[in-house]
Amino acid sequence: MKVGYFCTYVPEELIQACGGQAHLLYPKYVSHNEATSYFPTSFCPLAKSLLANLLSERWKDIDFFIFGTGCDAGRRLYDVFTSLRSKVPSYFLEIPAIDTDQAITFYARNLNELAQYLLSIQGIPSIEYTVNLIASLITGYDIKKNFTDLFFKGKEYGDTFIKPIGFSDKRLKNNPEPIPILLIASHLFIHRIINVLEKRGFLVLDNSALGMRRYIFPDISYTVEDDSFMTLSRWYLKNKVPCPGHSPERRLSILNKTIFELDIQGIIYFYPKFCDQSLYDIAFLKKYLTIPLLPIEHDVSFSSLGQWETRIDAFREVLSR
């Protein structure tokens, strides 16, 4: 069974343990044509684009969709989609906005409910599932630990998170002294913006929802004696690199650690227009980070590239000084 999800707080280990293939869905074909009638102008382009992709059946090979509560637009995406396609199997996962002990316990309970639902669909017995989950956690821990170690050693950069083929290496050979920067972004146009930045002589560390925020888990720990659901809950609420709007102080501390350890010179904040979480985050980071930050806003198209390139070039000049 192919299980699609949109939010980086959804644990893929749980889906795998339930016999599913986990697919983080993000619009490769970015458009909002099919969603225009359902969402207003001043609405998240990612939600619009996801809805357009869902309605146009570009993801028709996905058997089951998991929606989550990261933000208001995410909730409305679920509401509108389920009202239009009530027969498509989908599930709404409550993701706490905080990371207290109570929230971790509550999220563990929600994950258990999701697992029971997925198991009931597939007819997998609970005993088999428990063994699968432990195996999935052991593998998941190794992968996450490995990614995290490599990232902080500066060995995960460019588009290696999303396309580990080595495109970045080729481009970097042409720029022997690239300027290391952090790219903060959502799900849209990640490949393309990394490509643009690398061509302009930057070494890009990817803090997008498809990169660092999905793969890097500082302080992750696990022993087989731990409760599996509490472990997953803790990993995703407390150990993962937080998304904008979640745990701002912990997020700032991880960003500062990244900046210090990887000698980051600047930040490009490539954010979807009307994203409240990003808008608050920019103001917060502008206040506390000591390195230059360039905010670049995008809608559902990449058509402002010319304007962005001018600003990126100016930003590079500032950093070169």
Binding site: A97, Q102, D276
Partner: protein
């Protein structure tokens, strides 16, 4: 840009609002008002209660706790603290005619125009240090996730602790226990921080009694010859539905409002009865005049609805947790739409208006579902676009055209 004259006024005001003793002097003014208006009418009652609130907030005789709109005020009154709701106060700033100052201040500090202006104004007023300084912040994540980031920002500006109560969408015993457990932690912290002893009995009794009067007011508004003027006036009373609830002030105010309605029966009833969703523009504008011009009266307001069960002082935190969880009904489409349709029927409404707030994703994101459901049931819905505080998004001609078209639609029904 803020000019030097405005900057001078702001500096002076900032200096004055920090002088606690100055606000104690308002007692004399309050005493004089009580002597001059021995039986105050509705506006005078509201004015006197507002003056008292200002004195209490700025003289800081008790801890000041800020809360988000759907954090139950009864909790703060029971703790013996003074509640302050920055989102409501932002509306007051707009009504007083200077929302552009805090909005500009927020924008200068990177808070985008695309964010909710209630929150931007709250941030701006905090950066300007014009709102009363908080000792603690309490917020729920219910209804809108923007509130979470707003309160995190306030905590960062004022450098005070902030508790976010995470509220699930689901309605279940586990969700209720989760919210109750979070309230237990907050109550315990308030007890140790301020040495408070919670008086649940008093606060809950006042709240329940006030709710009964609000329900009686609702019954009065169902009668065709009883209307509040101007049409959206009830939304000016928002502090009494939220900030003062659980205190004698709210009870007193609604008793006055009930009396006012009983004494003001109309000779000529208006032709169209409307249900009002969300809030309204609080700056000076022509909206209410246009509604009146087209014979429209508002008979019920979503934000004046009672969405919770009577509070139980025997199980105070569970009771408040239930109230908080119930507030999610404003944002779950099926539940919200069911309620709106019930109001339409009970109040014999001819149509529904929602004034969209520019930065409000949760309400605008539901527009399609709302429109579809109301149209299916034969109720016309007018979605007005604009901003409740930021006048830069206001266009009178567009407003007139839309209301005129809506009026024609209702006339044709």
């Amino acid at each position: 840009m803020i000019g030097w004259k405005t900057e001078f006024v702001l500096s002076t005001t900032r200096y004055l609002v920090k002088r606690k003793s100055l606000f104690h002097l308002l007692r004399i003014y309050e005493w004089w008002l009580s002597k001059k208006f021995s039986v105050p009418n509705l506006p005078q009652t509201s004015y006197q209660l507002t003056i008292r609130m200002i004195r209490e907030l700025y003289s800081r005789t008790r801890p000041v706790i800020w809360a988000s709109l759907f954090f139950p005020c009864e909790f703060i009154h029971a703790a013996g603290a003074i509640p302050f709701y920055p989102e409501i106060a932002a509306g007051l700033v707009a009504a007083l005619g200077f929302p552009h100052i805090p909005l500009e201040k927020a924008e200068q500090n990177w808070y985008s125009q695309d964010l909710c202006s209630y929150h931007r104004a709250g941030v701006g007023m905090s950066l300007l240090e014009l709102f009363p300084r908080p000792d603690l912040l309490l917020a729920t994540t219910s209804i809108c996730r923007g509130t979470t980031a707003f309160f995190q920002t306030l905590a960062d500006i004022w450098k005070v602790p902030c508790y976010l109560v995470d509220v699930p969408f689901e309605s279940s015993p586990e969700a209720l226990r989760y919210v109750k457990d979070q309230l237990t932690v907050i109550a315990s912290d308030i007890q140790s921080r301020f040495g408070s002893r919670f008086d649940w009995e008093k606060s809950f009794t006042l709240s329940n009694e006030t709710v009964r009067i609000i329900q009686q007011i609702g019954e009065l508004r169902k009668q065709r010859d009883i209307l509040l003027h101007p049409p959206t006036k009830n939304l000016d009373y928002l502090p009494y539905y939220f900030q003062f609830l659980g205190s004698p002030s709210s009870l007193l105010f609604f008793k006055k409002l009930r009396q006012h309605l009983r004494e003001s029966r109309e000779q000529n009833t208006l032709s169209h009865r409307l249900i009002w969703l969300h809030l309204k523009p609080f700056y000076t504008n022509r909206l209410t005049a246009l509604l009146k011009e087209y014979g429209c009266g508002v008979v019920f307001d979503e934000f004046g609805s009672i969405f919770w069960e009577p509070l139980d002082s025997e199980n105070p935190l569970e009771s408040l947790a239930k109230k908080i969880c119930s507030s999610q009904n404003f944002t779950i489409p099926e539940q919200r739409i069911t309620k709106i349709l019930r109001w339409c029927k009970e109040y014999q409404a001819d149509g529904v208006i929602q004034f969209n707030q520019w930065g409000c994703r949760q309400s605008q994101g539901m527009n399609y579902l709302l429109k579809k459901s109301l149209q299916q049931k034969g109720y016309p819905l007018l979605l007005l676009d604009g901003d409740h505080l930021d006048k830069r998004f206001y266009s009178e001609e567009q407003l007139r055209t839309r209301i005129e078209a809506f009026h024609e639609l209702m006339e044709g029904l």
